[in-house]
Amino acid sequence: KRHVFLTGFEKIDKELRVIFTNLTGGAAWLELEDPDEIFSKGVFLMTQFLDKLPRESSAVSGGEKTVSAISFILAIQSVYPSHFYMFDEIDAHLDVRNSERLADLLRERAVNAQIIAVTLKDTVLARASLVYGVYMEKGTSQIVKYRPDLAVATTSGKQQQHQ
């Protein structure tokens, strides 16, 4: 059991390091709280953001926690891959630059597997190859293929420009 856990742990750690550096230019890695007491102790997600000191992921800012969590889940997905992925607003707490870097990474990963991502961020929409806009009309959702000139209209809820 210990062997199974450590094998998975090390694979996830390996992917996490690459993904986090890709997203932030910093470094991240997993650490066992106590290698002799694996199952009664925890796992630390250590993160060192660019030009800062290393900190456990619970000690960083809200947006930095989001970046760490995203890196973690993407690492898990790299170890246990699927053919398609669905993400619902995973970028909610990211600033402009972090959401740009995330969108770049998703576009890269979409070469090998389909990605369907819900987002409110223009930076993410800009990097998608196909965008749908959804809006409400009399309690019913309407779905339209997106045109860049509708960009502000759809996310701001003003639907009169739709076609």
């Binding site: 997600l45 989001t66 246990y80 619902d88 389909q114 987002t119 190859s129 959702s141």
Partner: protein, 166 residues
């Protein structure tokens, strides 16, 4: 296996007329105002692929998924969602380039499952999909709010999560 298209009728806010959404194999994005129906589209896919937990579909019971109309519109009688998956690599054990998974839910709570238009039992549906490693419980689905919850896990919970996955 990727999603080629989703067709939904009577599912949550998607209304009583069949809605068709086609996807590309690459990077697709869905946007729109709060409450417009983006997460409902995700829910319809999960529902079709076998999700039976009302909590995970954000309702109190499955029949609440049925479009309940608006202030001036009638409630739907039933739900019908079809997800058409690409199967050119035959990862799903059926001899067709696409596989269409269909699920109907009536107000009685009765579920009907179809594979390529042919009626099957819930077990056959789940087993067929799981051979292609497709499941609504998969790590490839990241619903709204999960990242926030992940970011708040303490070290013991992180270990527990890795244990579960491994």
């Amino acid at each position: 296996v990727f999603i080629r298209k989703v067709e939904a009728r009577g599912f949550k806010s998607l209304g009583d007329k069949t809605v068709v959404v086609k996807f590309e194999p690459s990077f697709n994005a869905i946007t729109g105002p709060n409450g417009s129906g983006k997460s409902n589209i995700m829910d319809s896919i999960l529902f079709c692929l076998g999700q039976n937990s009302p909590k995970k579909l954000r309702v109190d019971r499955l029949t609440s998924l049925i479009y309940d109309g608006g202030p001036s519109v009638k409630r739907s009688q039933s739900i019908r969602v079809s997800v058409t998956l690409d199967n050119t690599k035959r990862q799903i054990p059926l001899d067709s380039d696409t596989v269409t998974v269909t699920r109907e839910l009536r107000q009685t709570g009765e579920n009907i499952y179809l594979l390529n238009g042919k009626r099957v039992t819930k077990n056959v549906m789940n087993e067929t999909l799981s051979i292609a490693l497709i499941s609504p419980e998969g790590l490839n689905f990241v619903p709204q709010g999960i990242i926030t919850r992940l970011s708040e896990l303490v070290p013991d919970e992180k270990r527990g999560l890795i244990e579960e996955i491994v």
